[in-house]
């Protein structure tokens, strides 16, 4: 969307708008974090700090087989040789890895048979979040694998899924029951030496979700995991692995929140997706970790590595994301299009407010013939925030007829924020067609004026315009998420236009 600034409108009217906007801006910036509360659940943590001993303890606590410990130690040793990347358009305060608790699990780890057995405090937490497990179970048919502080608490609908041979469980369970699959696919999309945070995650990850869709199976419902950081001083390192076998389909959802904390908390997750022949994986996420207060104090450092591999012929991977939280977001969901005729899409809305910083985007690596990728990135920055799109489209010499279309729009709300675009396009094949376009603009006074004229208040007008702006991406989200995402955007942005 390109918003034109039109001059020549009555200047006194402008002042009124500006005044209104400043007032609204203040209201929004003074808004408290909606999910800021601490659940009083007993957590089982280990001592602060990171060394080989800590990794051995994590592995032992989780009762892991030998190959997992090897994997972790190898990653840790590799991590020690790596340096924190500095290329992103981010100001990251130094992170003291010895001051972080690398493992925090809710106690009472017994496997619950029914919801009644679940810690009532935990259930109340979910209710506050608006994610009542029971209701969801009955009404929406969404199977939820809730991960609190990195350990999976409850997986619903497991039996229904098991009938079709679909495996949807916590990562630790998968390590116990399906070690062959884990051994084969873990680290395939994101190798341990991929980057600093991927190496860290590989060394210390506590839990996450595991999905396997067998050949020719269409997953009958959307699979969903809910992550939440609860305990203090803890880092969350979850690991998600999704494998879609030949001719299968799955839509997977991930949502995140974290309660309000003064100090910064670290989150370094890894998500790997493997799509085999003609398989289709749709991955959607709404990220709403605590972004820090309006002075930029506290908040989550979100350093995430997500990558999918279109391994087979005509496989498809779709990344859909709505990013509204975290003090710092560093996230590039990527696709390697290896199989011929494979398709990848990346749709993103990233919103930053106050002192949030986001450096997010995607990588599309075209290797197979006739591969197609689409990138739609919508950045919205407000307050003093900084929002960057950083993306790479690479076409290998043998990727005949590769096709990419990228569109990166930035919307600026307020005069102290920044919007940046850093696309990298590397093309080595003459039959490919690669297009990239980007625009940066603010909401035009003329648009607001148009709405006002028709009796729509400035606040509603801004809501409408922002929603329209993000609509293209939100429409790609599954129904449940689309509603939540839309609400999130509205809460975050009501009137915050300058």
């Amino acid at each position: 969307m390109s918003v034109l600034f039109v001059t020549g409108i009555n200047s006194s009217y402008f002042e009124i708008i500006m005044e209104d906007q400043n007032k609204l801006l203040n209201e929004v910036t003074q808004r408290d974090y909606r999910f800021g509360f601490v659940s009083d659940i007993e957590t089982d943590t280990i001592v602060k700090g990171l060394n080989e001993e800590v990794i051995r303890i994590i592995s032992a606590k989780k009762d892991e087989p030998e190959f997992m410990l090897e994997f972790r130690l190898k990653a840790y040793r590799r991590w020690l040789t790596m340096k924190m990347p500095e290329w992103a358009q981010l100001k990251v305060p130094e992170i003291d890895y010895q001051d972080i608790i690398f493992y925090a699990a809710p106690t009472q780890q017994a496997k619950y048979e029914s919801l009644n057995e679940v810690d009532p405090e935990l259930l109340r937490t979910f209710e506050k979040l608006g994610i009542p497990l029971e209701e969801q179970k009955m009404l929406s048919g969404v199977a939820v694998d809730a991960v609190i502080d990195s350990v999976s608490v409850k997986t619903t609908f497991k039996e229904t899924l098991a009938e079709r041979g679909i495996i949807f469980c916590s990562f630790s369970e998968a390590v116990k029951h399906h070690p062959d699959l884990i051994q084969k696919y873990l680290g395939m999309a994101v190798p341990i030496n991929d980057n600093y945070f991927a190496a860290l995650n590989s060394a210390v990850f506590s839990d996450g979700s595991f999905v396997y869709i067998p050949k020719g199976t269409r997953c009958p419902m959307e699979l969903s995991t809910y992550f939440r950081i609860n305990a203090q001083n803890t880092g969350q390192f979850e690991r998600t692995l999704i494998i879609a076998d030949d001719d299968s389909y799955v839509s997977y959802l991930e949502g995140c929140t974290a309660p309000m904390r003064d100090e910064n908390q670290l989150h370094a997750a890894v998500v790997e997706i493997i799509a085999l022949n003609r398989a289709e994986v749709k991955y959607s996420t709404v990220q709403n970790w605590y972004p820090g207060d309006k002075n930029g104090k506290g908040g989550i450092f979100n350093f995430v590595t997500k990558r999918g591999i279109c391994m087979g012929i005509a496989s498809k991977i779709f990344w859909n994301q709505v990013e509204t939280g975290s003090a710092i977001t560093w996230k590039y969901p990527s696709c390697v299009l290896m199989g011929d005729n494979s398709v990848a899409e990346f749709n993103s809305v990233a919103l930053t407010n106050n002192y949030q910083q986001a450096d997010t985007g995607t990588k599309m690596i075209h290797i197979g013939k006739n591969t197609k990728s689409t990138i739609v990135s919508k950045g919205i920055s407000a307050g003093h925030s900084s929002n960057s799109y950083r993306g790479l489209v690479r076409v290998a010499a043998k990727a005949e007829n590769a096709r990419n279309y990228s569109q990166c729009d930035s919307l600026l709300l307020g005069d102290s924020c920044g919007a940046h675009t850093f696309p990298y396009i590397e093309v080595g094949n003459s039959s490919s067609i690669i297009e990239h376009e980007a625009t940066t603009s603010k909401i035009g006074e003329d648009q607001i004026f148009y709405c006002n004229q028709r009796g729509i208040s400035t606040e509603d007008a801004i809501g409408m315009i922002v929603n329209g702006y993000a609509r293209e991406v939100i429409n790609k989200l599954p129904m449940e998420f689309a509603v939540e995402a839309q609400k999130l955007l509205q809460i975050s942005l009501e009137g915050s236009v300058g």
């Binding site: 940046h420 675009t421 590397e426 093309v427 940066t440």
Partner: protein, 457 residues
């Protein structure tokens, strides 16, 4: 690891060259010029030889070029017997220019001495300007192009001795274009440093052409830096035509500082060359200043052409517009980095950028990196980049009308290139460049018909 060792040694070797030849380099130049050499050296040592690890040089690795060279440096001008300006006498009607000849980075006093300029316009050797016009030159020298931003700039400042100085006084419109011809001519492999300064006064107008040529088959590295100051309401058109042989490395930097209401047009046409890197930095430092920046590169064989632009919008109400195109054949590689930076107070900015590329073979490679860095909300900014092939439908359309495929392809490529050429405002020059590009696309040696040498006049 070997790579790292090589890098360090090249930096050391080049630093050594400065130390060992300091008296020759500094001789006769005022102290304020020589004082900047040491800070430049420090900056260069800090940044090192730019390679793929340097973000701004990600797609142009110069470590090998500098690692292997041990070229002669011309610390004093080479003595030539032939008056080169004779060679260039040509008779294109109604297209004449004030000719300024530069040989191996040195202003050619011999051939330039007979040229006179109207209305107080000063064109002289940069060396003489540094001595004779100290007061004026020191305001701009190494200030428009600070040494700590770019390693090639630091390198140039370390070794700078001569080049061209042009001063257009306030309110002077010079109607006849100025033409700088840079000639590389040496019996052995040569490393050339050239430094130019162009000052266009208040409300002045100037058109400038810069042609780069190699006359000998030896290897050359040409590190050419131009600082340009545009005063209030000044209008400057700068066209450069790079037509060198494939063993030449041309590393050029242009730094422009624009004041209120000034207008800049640049157009860089690259026809031939080995490794070409063009850096262009424009500071829009006055309200209502505008810059139109274009470039076209046609490359084949193992050529490498990388255009880097950095447009800084500092003041409100400025406009910038960039258009770069590449056509890449054989094993050639192309790079483009276009950066638009809008500072917090530069409201009402309009900044556009477009980069279109055509790959003709699978061995050719194009890397493009358009960037927007926007720190304020009252802007209209966009960029677009495409890499693709000749449009099949257009090709079919032409073939259906009886034009054979080869000719149809050429027509389409020419049309693609012409969008950039159309920005050349000197009509005669545009026609000449049109012809050169046409011939270049046909694979013929691009020589201007009416000239003895392959230059355009």
């Amino acid at each position: 690891m070997a790579d790292v060792l090589e890098k360090i040694s090249a930096v050391q070797r080049i630093s050594g060259l400065l130390d060992n030849n300091l008296s020759k380099i500094e001789e006769g130049l005022p102290a304020w010029v020589n004082q900047i050499r040491q800070p430049a050296l420090k900056a260069f040592q800090r940044m090192g030889i730019p390679g793929f690890r340097t973000e701004n040089y990600k797609y142009t690795d110069l470590t090998r070029l500098f690692g292997n060279e041990n070229f002669r440096r011309a610390y004093v001008p080479d003595d030539f017997e032939v008056d080169l300006s004779e060679v260039f006498s040509c008779d294109v009607p109604e297209f004449d220019t004030h000719l300024i000849l530069v040989v191996n980075g040195w202003y050619d006093e011999k051939s330039n001495r007979n040229t006179t300029y109207p209305d107080g316009v000063v064109v002289k050797s940069f060396r003489r300007a540094m001595i004779e016009n100290s007061d004026l030159v020191m305001n701009y020298y190494a200030k428009l192009a600070p040494v700590n931003e770019d390693p090639l700039t630091a390198l140039n400042t370390m070794f700078s001795q001569d080049g061209v100085f042009i001063h257009i006084p306030d309110h002077v419109h010079i109607s006849k274009p100025l033409q700088i011809i840079n000639i590389l001519r040496s019996e052995d492999d040569l490393y050339v440093t050239q430094r130019n300064l162009i000052i266009a006064g208040k409300n002045s107008q100037v058109k400038l052409m810069i042609c780069d040529h190699t006359l000998m088959p030896q290897q050359f590295i040409n590190n050419n830096l131009t600082e340009i100051q545009l005063g209030q309401d000044a209008v400057a058109d700068i066209y450069s035509i790079q037509n060198q042989h494939n063993k030449t490395a041309s590393l050029s930097g242009i730094y422009v500082h624009q004041e209120q209401g000034s207008q800049l047009v640049t157009n860089a046409i690259t026809l031939h060359g080995g490794i070409i890197r063009n850096n262009l930095k424009v500071l829009l430092d006055g309200e209502y200043a505008s810059a139109k920046i274009c470039g076209l590169a046609l490359s084949d064989k193992n050529q490498h052409v990388d255009n880097y632009t950095n447009i800084e919008h500092i003041k409100p109400n400025c406009e910038s517009n960039q258009l770069y195109k590449n056509i890449l054949d054989d094993n050639s590689t192309g790079g483009f980095t276009g950066r638009i930076h809008v500072l917090p107070y530069a409201v009402k900015t309009a900044a556009y950028q477009r980069n279109n590329n055509v790959l003709l073979t699978n061995a050719a490679r194009m890397n493009t990196k358009p960037q927007l860095v926007i720190d304020n909300d009252d802007v209209k900014c966009s960029h677009g980049a495409t890499v693709g092939r000749i449009n099949d439908e257009a090709l079919f359309y032409l073939q259906a009308r009886g034009i054979n495929e080869k000719e149809a392809r050429l027509m389409l490529m020419f049309a693609f290139a012409h969008e950039v050429l159309a920005e050349v405002k000197i009509e005669k020059l545009r026609d000449v460049i049109d012809k050169l590009v046409n011939k270049r696309l046909r694979g013929e040696v691009s020589k201007c018909h009416s000239c003895a040498m392959d230059c355009i006049r």
